[in-house]
């Protein structure tokens, strides 16, 4: 009911009559509107005198909830894609949410998240399932419901980390800061599942206190909250004299036994564990603990320190015993020449490389292995140390053991008593260990040799590369042979597969059924143009292919016309082996096949078109004669009829069509049927022209064959 201006008089005084539904200008009396549509609420009297408003509620999501007249739940085809996405998303959310027992408010929030996600195009490339799960989990987190990501992944049977990835991404994109997970949230849920009966509440309370204590003791950072809950519940249950085994708890909480045990051990290490039950319920210790992994690493650091101290002390002791060692050393060197030979070489090299090895490998490459050995060595040392101090003069016996262990544990590490101990140990020591040492020594020896150049310390010339060393990387001929044999044997299956594949391809090539390439070109063929003449067809095709805007179509057409002149002359010369229309048809059919082949080839090698046109232009007259001969041959072939496969028509079976009634059973190309029809029709109109064009195209065909 906007006050409009009357068209006739320009007056703005318009009288709108609701009853009649008409708008009239009061100035000039012209009727502006006759059937005004009113948007007012109407009331209807229902049964029992109740008046209700007429109309339906239309939800903002689109016509989802108005399935009138039994159209029911169909997602109608007419809807737009976005509405469909939202609708299906809503449905899935409802489904999944009800399985999780989320209330309607949560589901609506989740749907809102989903709408946001869709509008930001984050659903692209992701499974809707994952996105929906992530939205639901977002809601769970913001509302603080005791649902874990694990639950969702259980329902969907999807890896939890994949869901987590999606969830993190969505949270980041939607700028939703989900509050951190509090293990306290899960306690009531798990307690309920563990079935404590009437005492569930008490047990939950105890477990809650435990979890809070754990939090203060820094056990909860970086850990899954469910693990903590499991441990807390287990202890709480025992405290209230319920017998719940570890297995029960882990089936509810979904962590593994090892995790639970570990949490329990960690809790054991805290001072709170020393309290009695009553004390625990009443008292809260103020002292806080360090996180368990922190204490573990500190423990390691302490062990290392201890080891260093001990080694230093050993050095002191060694100074006192060295004289005895020298004597024994000389004695035993005489008795074991073999070993010495190898170790002499090493021992000699060891001197200049002592410092290198020390500096280069201060941190051993396998810290874990070495640390364990160091620990063992340290333990051994502490035991032996006392004995050593007491038995200085006999210290050699224990010393060598200790020294050997150290040596075994730290081949590359620099300790001061290296060389002497090395030779002493090996000579004195037990053979098995010496043998193992041997191997390690040989390795280090061979790698030490190229070390001579010391390129690791930063030789960065252009050719700062040791060729000798590089040569080591290349096997000599015999080695290559051996390796080849090995590799062939190993990968025999794979090679076999490759061979078969190649053979298959070869066969297909010979048979002409090499399918790989034609697959693509087949599709292209179907796009071929419908045109009334071959020349037009070529033109259109060129345009379509957008080969070149530089092709002069006029020249093409001229070719046509020129061809007409010469072709028209030659056509009556042709032997009338076939009756005019039928024979022509057959002829043209054959030619058309050639045309189609030619066109096919053209389509396949569109870029060469320009070249060919030029070539044709230059050599058309010669080709015409050749074409004539070719066409003569064709005619003969036609008369012989039936399925001679001149070229390679791998095409589909022929569709008998009324126009092609008298034709032989030569299978026309499936894609070219239309073209053939068209050309036949065109043929009726201007035979001469068509013939010449065909000749032209026949030229193309010949050209094709020559080129190929």
């Amino acid at each position: 009911m906007s006050s409009r201006v009357c068209k006739t008089c320009g007056g703005s005084d318009i009288d709108v009559d609701q009853a009649r539904g008409s708008a009239v200008c009061t100035g000039c009396g012209s009727v502006l509107e006759d059937n005004i549509i009113v948007s007012e609420v109407q009331f209807v009297e229902g049964s029992g005198g109740v008046s209700s408003a007429v109309g339906q509620f239309v939800s903002a999501d689109g016509p989802v909830k108005a399935p009138l007249l039994g159209s029911g739940f169909h997602t109608s085809v007419g809807k737009e894609s976005r509405a469909q996405t939202l609708q299906s998303g809503k449905r899935q959310i409802q489904q999944l949410g009800s399985q999780l027992q989320l209330n309607q408010h949560c589901l609506d929030t989740a749907f809102n998240f989903f709408k946001m996600v869709v509008s930001k195009h984050l659903t692209r490339g992701r499974k809707t399932e994952h996105v929906i799960a992530a939205c639901l989990y977002l809601v769970c987190r913001t509302e603080g419901t005791p649902h874990m990501l694990l639950d969702l992944s259980d329902l969907l049977q999807v890896n939890v980390y994949i869901l987590g990835k999606t969830f993190l991404l969505l949270a980041r994109e939607l700028c939703i800061n989900a509050p951190a997970i509090d293990p306290c949230l899960y306690i009531p849920r798990f307690a309920h599942m563990l079935e404590f009966g009437a005492k569930t509440h008490e047990v939950s309370m105890t477990a809650l206190r435990l979890v809070q204590r754990m939090k203060r003791d820094w056990m909860h950072t970086g850990r899954r909250p469910s693990g903590l809950c499991g441990a807390a519940l287990l202890v709480a249950a025992r405290m209230h004299k319920f017998r719940r085994t570890v297995k029960d708890v882990i089936s509810v909480v979904k962590v593994c036994q090892t995790t639970l045990r570990k949490r329990l051990t960690e809790f054991e290490d805290t001072p709170t564990s020393q309290l009695t039950i009553d004390e625990f319920m009443r008292v809260d210790l103020e002292q806080e603990c360090d996180p368990p992994s922190f204490t573990a690493s500190q423990h390691k650091a302490k062990m290392q320190q201890l080891e260093q101290e001990l080694s230093r002390k050993l050095d002191d002791v060694e100074g006192e015993i060295s004289c005895y060692k020298d004597e024994i050393e000389s004695e035993l060197e005489k008795s074991r020449p073999k070993l010495r030979g190898i170790y002499a070489a090493y021992a000699k090299e060891l001197d200049p490389e002592d410092s290198e090895v020390l500096s280069v490998a201060s941190e051993p490459e396998d810290p874990d292995v070495e640390e364990n050995e160091l620990q063992a060595a340290a333990q051994h040392l502490t035991q032996e140390f006392l004995g050593q101090v007491i038995q200085e003069e006999e210290g050699l016996g224990s010393k060598t053991d200790v020294g050997k262990e150290e040596e075994a544990g730290a081949v590359k590490e620099g300790s001061v008593h290296q060389r002497q101990v090395a030779s002493l140990d090996i000579i004195l020591g037990k053979l098995p260990t010496a043998a193992s040492l041997q191997q390690t020594f040989i390795e280090s020896e061979s790698s030490d040799k190229p070390d001579d150049e010391q390129s690791e310390s930063g030789e960065l010339d252009l050719d700062g590369i040791d060729d000798q060393e590089i040569e080591k990387y290349i096997l000599n001929e015999r080695e290559v042979q051996v390796k080849t044999d090995l590799w062939m044997k190993q990968n025999a299956e794979y090679l076999q597969e490759q061979k078969e594949k190649e053979e298959r391809i070869k066969k297909e090539k010979e048979q002409g059924t090499y399918k790989e390439k034609p697959k693509k070109s087949k599709k292209k063929k179907k796009e071929l143009v419908e045109a009334s003449s071959a020349g037009e067809a070529i033109e259109r095709m060129l345009e379509k292919k957008k080969i070149s805007s530089k092709i002069n179509y006029d020249v093409l057409r001229d070719l046509n016309s020129r061809g007409t002149g010469s072709g028209g002359g030659s056509s009556p010369n042709r032997p009338p082996s076939a009756g005019p229309p039928d024979a022509r048809k057959k002829l043209n059919r054959r030619r058309r096949r050639k045309t189609s082949d030619a066109n096919r080839d053209l389509a396949a090698n569109a870029s060469l078109m320009g070249k060919r046109v030029r070539l044709l232009i230059s050599s058309t007259p010669k080709k015409k004669k050749a074409a004539n001969q070719a066409t003569d041959q064709e005619e003969n072939l036609v008369t012989m009829a039936t399925d001679t496969t001149t070229e390679t028509p791998p095409e589909a079976t022929p569709d008998p069509k009324p126009q092609t009634g008298p034709t032989p059973t030569a299978p026309p190309a499936a894609g070219e049927e239309e073209e053939e029809e068209e050309e036949e029709e065109g043929e009726g109109e201007g035979e001469e022209e068509c013939v010449s064009a065909l000749q032209l195209v026949g030229d193309y065909g010949c050209e094709e064959e020559e080129v190929f």
Binding site: G164, R172, D290, S297, S447, I474
Partner: protein
């Protein structure tokens, strides 16, 4: 020990990943058969070659693109790459060393204090994210440096970035934030 002096913190670079091209087609079979320390994976289409001296593992594709991992510094990575190219040259390919680029640097660093991850995440809301169900560390991504820092509750952090300089800068940037949320040691 260390107050807020970053230089005193040891940033240990544990891995440097670099790529380069040889600008020529490589026959993987030849390399596989004539080289020591090579693993040929025909299904994937690459050869793994391990060098001993700068301890480097290189993935070599037949197109001539090579990825080197395992070096402990950028220089080492370059040296290793050159060594590898020389090795391929000796095998008979016309190798040219081009387009060398360090793609990723991984470093670890240890703070002398433990860190309260939940506080840290709360303070740095959108940039940091912590999901204990998925990973025990909080992830802090610095966009302009393109560096990602993973913070563990024990105080150790791992930093990944496109080059060593960025990594150092990232550590410097994040140090004060971590210092705020530290957990005082009691033992």
């Amino acid at each position: 020990m260390d107050s807020s002096n970053d230089d005193a913190l040891d940033i240990i670079v544990s891995n440097v990943v670099a790529t380069f091209r040889t600008r020529c087609h490589l026959n993987l079979r030849t390399i596989a058969l004539e080289g020591t320390n090579v693993i040929y994976k025909p299904e994937v289409g690459k050869v793994l070659m391990k060098l001993r001296k700068p301890k480097i593992t290189a993935s070599i594709w037949s197109s001539g693109k090579i990825i080197c991992t395992g070096a402990t510094s950028e220089d080492e990575a370059k040296q290793g790459a050159r060594r590898l190219a020389r090795c391929l040259q000796k095998l008979g390919f016309k190798v040219r060393f081009s387009a060398f680029k360090v793609v990723n640097v991984l470093a670890v660093c240890s703070m002398p204090f433990a860190i309260h991850l939940i506080d840290f995440t709360k303070n740095n809301r959108p940039i940091a994210s912590y999901e204990p169900e998925l990973h025990p560390a909080a992830t802090y991504r610095i966009k302009n440096l393109k560096a990602t820092i993973q913070v563990f509750s024990t105080g150790s952090i791992t930093v990944t970035g496109p080059n060593v300089q960025n990594v150092a800068t990232a550590v410097e940037q994040v140090y004060p934030l971590l210092f705020e949320c530290q957990k005082p040691l009691c033992e």
